[in-house]
């Protein structure tokens, strides 16, 4: 069974992906091909841009079930539309008109149950693509990409995670920002959550939301402060006062930011940053090793 680490933040732009791709690389030094990264930020996945030599291995389409209404059987009673929580079904009796809006449909199946006339059948409708790559340094990563216009982020993340190959020692999940359903889906089965924050009021505010969430979900977590040197000291005091685990700090550096902007954060890593990521990785390895044979059941 794999040890699953989710990287989340609340606020966007704190450095989830930076931390994710670095942990991917540094953990692979110990676990070789046994580390697998999944980009769960399906609305705007960006892990792949840091792997210039990545090779596509496999691609599949994720689908959801969407109702079709058989005109011959439909009585235009409108019960299916009434039951639909997402307003995905239009029935206009006057005009003998029926239409299903696939992008609004959440695939809950309520309409099929509602219909007394057997007029509803379900068909598969694509919501996105799941692609698996060889990273260029031996390890594999997977990217879920939600179709533009689709509102099915959470289902897309679920389908992407279902496709993760078995038998990896460590699974990394790069989470979307926020604290709502897509994030809950991403971290739900994690053994450990790395919360990436920045020492700004906004970063701090969202870190507290994220801590509320992981506490509610009873997930162990540690904090990485990125862009250290910016903002103020509130987050440090908060971590101290609550005895939370600080996994490491990455300084705010223009040099590092410009490496990021060229997509080269995994090449020519500045020595200082290299040491910091090694330190964070070491702390995680201890957790991974300690956890061996002591897995909680799937949530």
């Amino acid at each position: 069974m794999s040890y699953k680490i989710a990287i989340a933040s609340g606020k966007g732009g704190t450095g989830k992906t930076t931390v994710s791709v670095n942990l991917f690389k540094y953990l692979s030094e110990k676990y070789k091909k046994n580390v697998f990264l999944t980009d769960c930020d399906v609305e705007e996945p960006n892990c792949l841009i840091f792997f210039n030599d990545a090779v596509l291995l496999n691609e599949s389409t994720a689908t959801k079930l969407v109702p079709s209404i058989e005109k011959e059987k439909c009585t235009y009673c409108g019960k299916c539309a009434e039951w639909c929580e997402f307003n995905a079904i239009s029935i206009i009796k006057k005009a003998r008109f029926t239409e299903v809006n696939a992008t609004l449909c959440h695939s809950c199946g309520a309409c099929s149950v509602a219909c007394n006339f057997d007029a509803i059948t379900e068909h598969s409708d694509p919501i996105g693509k799941i692609s698996r790559y060889e990273s260029g340094f031996g390890c594999e990563l997977m990217v879920g990409r939600l179709n533009i216009g689709s509102t099915m982020q959470t289902m897309m993340i679920e389908k992407t995670k279902e496709n993760i190959p078995e038998n990896h020692k460590v699974l990394l999940f790069d989470s979307p920002p926020g604290t709502s359903c897509p994030v809950v889906e991403t971290i739900s089965d994690a053994d450990y959550v790395v919360l990436v924050t920045e020492p700004t009021p906004f970063g701090f505010h969202d870190l507290k939301l994220m801590i509320d969430l992981v506490t509610e979900m009873q997930l162990p977590f540690g904090i990485v402060i990125n862009k250290a040197g910016l903002g103020n000291n509130e987050v440090y005091k908060f971590i101290d006062d609550n005895n939370f685990e600080l996994l490491g700090e990455i300084p705010f550096s223009k040099e590092y930011a410009s490496l990021y902007s060229t997509g080269n954060i995994l090449k020519n890593i500045p020595l200082e940053i290299d040491l910091l990521f090694r330190q964070i990785t070491e702390r995680l390895i201890k957790k991974i090793e300690k956890d061996e044979g002591n897995h909680h059941t799937e949530r």
Binding site: E85, F86, N87, S90, I92, A95, F97, N101, L104, T151
Partner: protein, 110 residues
């Protein structure tokens, strides 16, 4: 011709509502009889799909032309299926003012 104007209130001096799917009220104006009636929008609080639900209501009201500030893509595609003419205007004017303008222009369009 039956024309719907999206409205912020239920009187002719109410200002036009620039939203379609989540407009507060709809003023249905019958150019033949000169009569107006106001209909409250039941879809204001819809979680999603307010546009399509409101478009269905327009078909039920037998609107042939709708005047609003903006129509979303899903509402637009449904309304177009029923050949309802959509007019987007960027004005802050009372409903009566819009009706007066319609009365001035309609004879020339016949």
């Amino acid at each position: 011709m039956k024309i719907v104007i999206t409205s912020k209130g239920n009187t002719p001096d109410s200002i036009m509502d620039s939203r379609f799917g989540r407009a507060q009220w709809f003023c249905l104006y019958n150019t033949e009889t000169g009569k107006t009636s106001f209909h409250q929008n039941p879809n204001i609080e819809a979680m999603g799909g307010a546009g399509t639900k409101t478009a269905e209501l327009m078909v039920e009201l037998e609107a042939e032309r709708i005047i609003s500030g903006h129509f979303g893509p899903k509402a637009k595609s449904l309304l177009e299926k029923f050949n309802i003419q959509l007019i987007e205007v960027d004005i802050e004017e009372p409903i009566q003012g819009v009706i007066d303008k319609l009365d001035q222009t309609i004879p020339f369009q016949a």
